[in-house]
Symmetry: C2
DNA sequence: CACCTCATGTAGACACCGACAACATACCCG
DNA sequence: CGGGTATGTTGTCGGTGTCTACATGAGGTG
């Protein structure tokens, strides 16, 4: 159906894609009726892959540890798939997300909320309101991925940002209080 | 020179801009030699304004309280200036940021790092490495602004996200441990 | 005043793009 | 066999960024 991320991309153009595949300029429109459709498909693909390499890979864990590994895995996925990550960062793409994409993201959020509950039952920040922890987690994951990948955020930190710093930052939030 | 944000925008086009101003299609190129130049100017404008309404407005504060107000102010600014915020979120724009823009951001980061030092001296997370706190702060601010403004992040939280939740989330990090 | 220069605006052209329509081809299934 | 569906092709349209050549006017200098 499609071989994505053929080259390091993101001046994506349907016509360039057609050229790359050696087909006529309008051929891609048979598969994606509009350019937004293509980006939708890429976003869905990216989200599926991201969830596959975070939530699924931590299925045997639970509670706080699972949350930490999920967050670390998310940042690592963003690092390893900058093209997909850029698509997911694009507000214009996500604003018109399909119902299926929204549903997938909601399922992912549900897992996070469930594990927050478990972690709280295990004594992690048990006095906090769960939705505040959830918002914090989501913001921290999204922001850490950006800091880890976007050159403009790397610049102000320059050499100061050592390899493990982002994981250490995630752990500031995702660790037991008595550690 | 320019009246920006004439309408709620971000299918920005030099020709549309020219039409809006009642000039010929190539006139804007006299002021911004390329479209990327225009976005650069917008980004610089946005960053200047953002810093003006956060760092400057908290000048009389210091340490932890200043950091908290800066973070809250940043999120509020993003909420109130979605168009500017979208420009600053765009990786393609920021990747080619001018030296002046980089310098401005670096100055902003310097203030944050200084206040982190002050806060640590006041007993806030004094055992942590400063750069880890800095990375955490930057990620949290960037992520919170996105969660606060991007519909795709609002959706999974739905009505669960109450007005004060994001501030409460920021406070999870930016508060004294004994509170 | 004459003259030059620079900033600004204009018109035209080019290549690229997304999208649409009309037509061709091939394949599957009743 | 025959028709429908999926896929691809060519051609076209309007829109866009950018370049070039040309106009015009303001300001300063001789």
């Amino acid at each position: 159906m499609k071989q994505l991320s053929t080259g390091g991309i993101e001046t994506l153009s349907l016509r360039a894609l057609a050229r790359e595949l050696g087909v006529s300029h309008a051929a891609p429109l048979r598969h994606f009726s509009t350019k937004a459709d293509l980006l939708q498909a890429l976003a869905m693909d990216g989200v599926t892959q991201m969830i596959g390499s975070t939530a699924a890979a931590t299925e045997e864990l639970c509670g706080l540890e699972r949350l930490r590994r999920m967050a670390e895995g998310y940042v690592e996925w963003a690092r390893n798939n900058p093209a997909y990550h850029m698509v997911l960062r694009n507000p214009d793409v996500m604003r018109h997300a399909s119902d299926a994409l929204r549903q997938t993201l909601e399922d992912f959020a549900r897992v996070q909320r469930k594990e927050i509950e478990v972690a709280q039952a295990q004594g992690w920040r048990s006095e906090e309101r769960p939705q505040v922890l959830f918002v914090h987690l989501v913001a921290l994951m999204a922001g850490s991925a950006i800091v880890a990948t976007d050159p403009i955020y790397k610049a102000p930190v320059a050499q100061l940002l050592q390899p493990g710093d982002i994981d250490a930052s995630l752990e500031l939030f995702l660790r037991m209080p008595e550690d």
